[in-house]
């Protein structure tokens, strides 16, 4: 009995699907679909999926090929985080790009950085017709587009400049400081040094302290310190 228990304990464990409700869609008297959670695949590729995932992000189109990076909840493989399989698909005619050592990418000589990531829900649709299953289709729903996160340059943070005559979000895009809405939750409004075009840009790293006084300037408290990038 003990040996049997030990044997069971040693058996490889499959990830357990979280308890999720199935959804039934009635198409006609003879046809209905059952939508259920499905394990997110290791890779997502182009084609229709690529079309789904290839929407503009911060002015650029991400690669259509994605690799499953992480499953946040090990009991629920129907939700996963994806990152690009490679950076080759990034350029999309946008010109040169460089990547940092930790998997972030810049199109504008380090002025702005992107770390594309999608949080995806995976479902399968079993299609029944005349009482028989005739097809199974998988569907990948982007719950959250995290591609607009701006991360810092190399060893420290890059200064997040909220400017740029040309924001990179379109040929005529400009930053209007009097507008209370931005077009995107991130990169487009940080024109930075690379946005204006014309002439060379010199950037340098500087170590700065951000200090705040809560007593009218008598004493100062450091609230942040680190490397920042500035350009001229």
């Amino acid at each position: 009995m003990v040996a049997l228990l030990c044997l069971v304990a040693l058996l490889p464990r499959q990830p357990v699907q979280a308890q999720q409700t199935q959804r039934v869609i009635v198409i006609s008297a003879d046809e209905y679909w059952v939508v259920r959670p499905a394990t997110c695949p290791i890779h997502l590729y182009g084609g229709l999926i690529g079309w789904l995932f290839g929407y503009p992000n911060g002015g650029y189109t991400w690669t259509p090929d994605w690799t499953r990076h992480r499953v946040p909840n090990q009991a629920d493989y129907s939700h996963a985080e994806y990152r690009p399989s490679s950076y080759d698909g990034y350029t999309q005619g946008k010109g040169d790009y460089i990547t940092s050592g930790d998997g972030i990418i810049s199109f504008d000589t380090s002025a702005r950085w992107y770390e594309p990531e999608l949080y995806v829900e995976c479902t399968a649709t079993d299609k029944f017709y005349g009482g028989h299953i005739i097809a199974v289709n998988e569907h990948y729903h982007v719950l959250e587009n995290r591609g607009d996160i701006v991360v810092c340059k190399g060893r420290g943070t890059a200064l997040l400049e909220p400017t740029g005559e040309n924001t990179g979000f379109g040929p005529d895009a400009t930053y209007d400081p009097y507008s209370n809405f931005g077009d995107s939750d991130g990169c487009e409004s940080e024109g930075g040094s690379g946005g204006s075009g014309g002439g060379s840009t010199t950037c340098w790293d500087e170590y700065i302290y951000v200090e705040e006084s809560f007593d009218g300037g008598a004493t100062w408290e450091i609230i942040w310190e680190g490397w920042a990038q500035a350009c001229m």
Binding site: T157, N180, F181, I223, G226
Partner: protein, 153 residues
């Protein structure tokens, strides 16, 4: 049935993709004021953050301010927002200090000079905690949710 299935799939796909319109986000305001003090020979600025007064964040320009002056002030404010959030919990004055003297200045924002001209020509109005000054309100991208490396104290 194939056509119907394809159309249904496409409609599901269209619903799933966030549109650009959905990505529009509210910027965070800052009031730029100009304190006309004839005695001030050099341009300077002060960045105020307030917890309960409105406007919450105020940049006070003094003297012959330029677009570069406003740019430096905005950068200081953005750093503070990165460290503390787009709104603060305590009233304070923010400044940045370099580890060594830096002679170079970062590029002025292309719109900064225009805003400085606008504020210098704006009618005076009462700004709480500051007084009666020339003022305009500008909007900056939210800093919440961004990754900040370095050390938050």
């Amino acid at each position: 049935m194939i056509v119907k299935t394809t159309m249904a799939l496409l409609s599901v796909a269209m619903i799933s993709v966030p549109t650009l319109a959905q990505q529009r986000v509210k910027r965070v305001p800052v009031t730029v004021v100009f304190r006309d003090t004839p005695a001030a020979a050099a341009a300077s600025y002060t960045v105020l953050r307030r917890a309960s007064q409105t406007p919450r964040d105020v940049i006070v320009l003094v003297g012959p301010a330029t677009g570069q002056t406003l740019t430096d002030a905005v950068r200081t404010l953005l750093y503070a927002r990165l460290a503390e959030g787009d709104t603060t919990a305590r009233d304070g004055v923010v400044r940045t200090r370099h580890s060594h003297s830096v002679n170079q200045h970062a590029n002025p924002y292309p719109w900064a000079e225009r805003v400085v001209r606008d504020v210098q020509a704006a009618p005076e109005r009462e700004v709480s905690g500051v007084g009666r000054v020339r003022a305009v309100e500008i909007w900056l991208p939210p800093q919440r949710g961004r990754r900040l490396r370095g050390n938050i104290k």
